[in-house]
């Protein structure tokens, strides 16, 4: 089980001060946040890809991730998400393979389609073809990392003849790929078909949606012969704001929630917490809530939290990460206990080893 954070790099006015960070400040803050994530022992840092304001996420995530690879030692670098629709799959193959070498393999990536209509035409694409683009582009990307001599023809890009994508993946092992989607069963099916990971960023959605998508992915993963449904590789999003007491957390976060870009000026903080995985409270509450995700997602492989959005200033985000470190430490204890328990049960039932030892 991996724990980490993911960012969309939004440049949002702090509603409590009216101050908007510059792009430069936001970009440097993102680097600081990633370094802090390593300091507190998180497993993953993932960045979004954006091409339009109000975002200062990289247009090509390997630019940021290569920088982070040089400044970190252990943390895995990933994306949330890499746009498989509007990027040329050849460039994805090459840029991420290069990143893989720089990071000594300490990376993976999550593919998404992007939900902002205007972005597609900037790259000569059409949002109505989002699914066909994702399917065709990934089919090519998948081959480029596995075959040295690629003949290819599709609907959306120039044909290739005898093409070799360089550099080749590190040690001949293609980067691990997650496919992210909230609602499209085609993407769950795609992840299952290839035996890749499936990531459900369910932070803005009720659990029922998430549960059905994950159940579909797990069933299809087994159908395509990649292993048992329960061993399918599921990742989940999460959103927390932490303070020592739940009262402090709610008081501090409410102005950010009420004005947040996605759900601001809508439901109350309390309603949204009840309806979605958002947790605003003490570290212990975040631990319990996160453990609760397993009730509908099964046991899963990666949990990413969103902590740096809606105009929260950098110092507040860094304090969040200190508390998140405690949450993750506690979650890891639960994970370790879960791994041990079934084994002990088997052992106790099968032999008298434990009583005689």
């Amino acid at each position: 089980m991996e724990y980490g954070i993911f960012t969309v790099g939004d440049v949002t006015t702090d509603p409590t001060t009216g101050r908007t960070p510059s792009e430069h400040e936001r970009i440097k803050a993102t680097v600081r946040i990633a370094l802090k994530a390593e300091e507190i022992g998180l497993d993953v840092f993932a960045t979004g890809e954006h091409h339009n304001p109000p975002f200062a996420a990289p247009a090509n995530p390997p630019v940021l991730l290569a920088h982070l690879a040089a400044k970190t030692e252990r943390i895995k670098l990933s994306t949330s998400t890499t746009l498989i629709t509007t990027n040329d799959p050849v460039r994805i193959a090459q840029d991420y393979a290069y990143l893989q070498h720089l990071a000594d393999g300490r990376m993976d990536l999550m593919l998404g389609r992007g939900n902002t209509g205007p972005v597609y035409p900037w790259f000569g694409k059409d949002i109505r073809e989002g699914i066909p683009l994702a399917i065709e582009n990934y089919a090519l990307l998948h081959r480029l990392w596995r075959e040295e001599d690629v003949d290819w023809q599709g609907k959306f890009r120039t044909p290739l003849q005898g093409f070799t994508s360089t550099p080749r993946p590190l040690d001949g092992t293609p980067p691990f790929v997650w496919h992210g989607s909230i609602r499209s069963p085609e993407i769950a099916e795609q992840a299952a078909y290839y035996g890749d990971g499936f990531f459900s960023n369910h932070i803005f959605w009720p659990a029922e949606h998430t549960a059905r998508m994950i159940a579909l992915y797990r069933a299809r993963f087994e159908h395509y012969g990649h292993g048992k449904a329960e061993d399918a590789i599921v990742g989940l999003g999460g959103q927390v704001y932490l303070a020592r007491t739940s009262q402090d957390a709610v008081r501090e976060f409410r102005p950010y929630f009420d004005n947040a870009p996605v759900y601001g000026h809508g439901p109350s903080l309390e309603d949204f917490m009840a309806q979605t995985p958002l947790t605003v409270g003490s570290p212990q509450q975040a631990v319990e809530r996160t453990l609760g995700f397993r009730a509908y997602a099964g046991s899963y492989a990666r949990q990413l939290f969103l902590v740096d959005h809606a105009g929260l200033p950098l110092d507040a985000v860094l304090r969040q990460l200190d508390l998140l470190g405690e949450v993750v430490e506690e979650l890891r204890k639960h994970d370790a206990a879960e791994l041990v328990e079934p084994a002990e049960t088997t052992s106790a039932a099968g032999t008298t080893e434990r009583s005689t030892a």
């Binding site: 065709e136 009720p206 439901p267």
Partner: protein
């Protein structure tokens, strides 16, 4: 045979003439279905208490609580009776919002009876220029007779007794309910797939998708 009729009413006051018209239409539809041997149940969806939840859904993209239940009621219904007050020469914003946030396809093929209330009969064409196109867009089957009630209509005789002749409004209610009942009786519907199931069914084989 049984049937469920969802009655959507967007009146804001209590008592509301919109609700009154909705109740008359509902009752008439149950009677008309009864004559065809269909045991019909009404499920009334009052939009006023859902107003906040509707705004939330516009902003968040998902329905919660009673609103989610109301949307589910419509998606499962064998027929819908939709009644709105006329605001500024059209359906009310609250009424429109409810149909804006319904899951696409929720009313595919559903028989719908449209009705509206207003202070003056000069708005009666709202049924034809606003409500009928809305439900056509939603792929519902709108019955030929729409029912419009202006303030003066409520003074007419109900026509429930043999001695008093039915008013124009009561006749229209009976005729529209009869048309709705005929559509429901002709079109028994099975379980309706939701968006996820429809997407899944439409997806087909992944190998086919890969061929582009």
């Amino acid at each position: 045979m049984t049937a469920t009729i969802a009655v959507v009413t967007a009146g804001l006051s209590d008592p509301s003439s919109t609700r009154l018209l909705a109740d008359q239409l509902g009752k008439a539809a149950v009677e008309a279905l009864g004559q065809r041997g269909v045991d019909a149940t009404l499920e009334v969806v009052e939009l006023r208490p859902l107003a906040h939840a509707l705004t939330d859904q516009l902003l968040t993209g998902f329905a919660t609580g009673d609103l989610a239940a109301a949307e589910e009621t419509l998606a499962r219904a064998d027929a819908v009776i939709a009644v709105t007050p006329v605001f500024s020469a059209s359906y009310s914003g609250l009424f429109k919002t409810f149909f804006d946030v319904l899951e696409p396809g929720a009313l595919d093929g559903t028989p719908v009876l449209v009705a509206a209330t207003a202070g003056t009969a000069r708005h009666s064409l709202v049924l034809e220029h606003a409500l009928r196109p809305l439900f056509s867009h939603l792929h519902a089957v709108v019955v030929p007779t729409g029912v419009f009630a202006a303030s003066e209509d409520w003074g007419g005789a109900a026509g429930t007794s043999q001695s008093a002749p039915a008013s124009g409004l009561a006749r229209r209610v009976t005729r529209a309910a009869g048309e709705l009942a005929a559509l429901v009786a002709e079109r028994p519907r099975g379980a309706r797939p939701d968006q996820f199931d429809r997407d899944l069914a439409a997806m087909g084989d992944f190998e086919e998708l890969l061929k582009g």
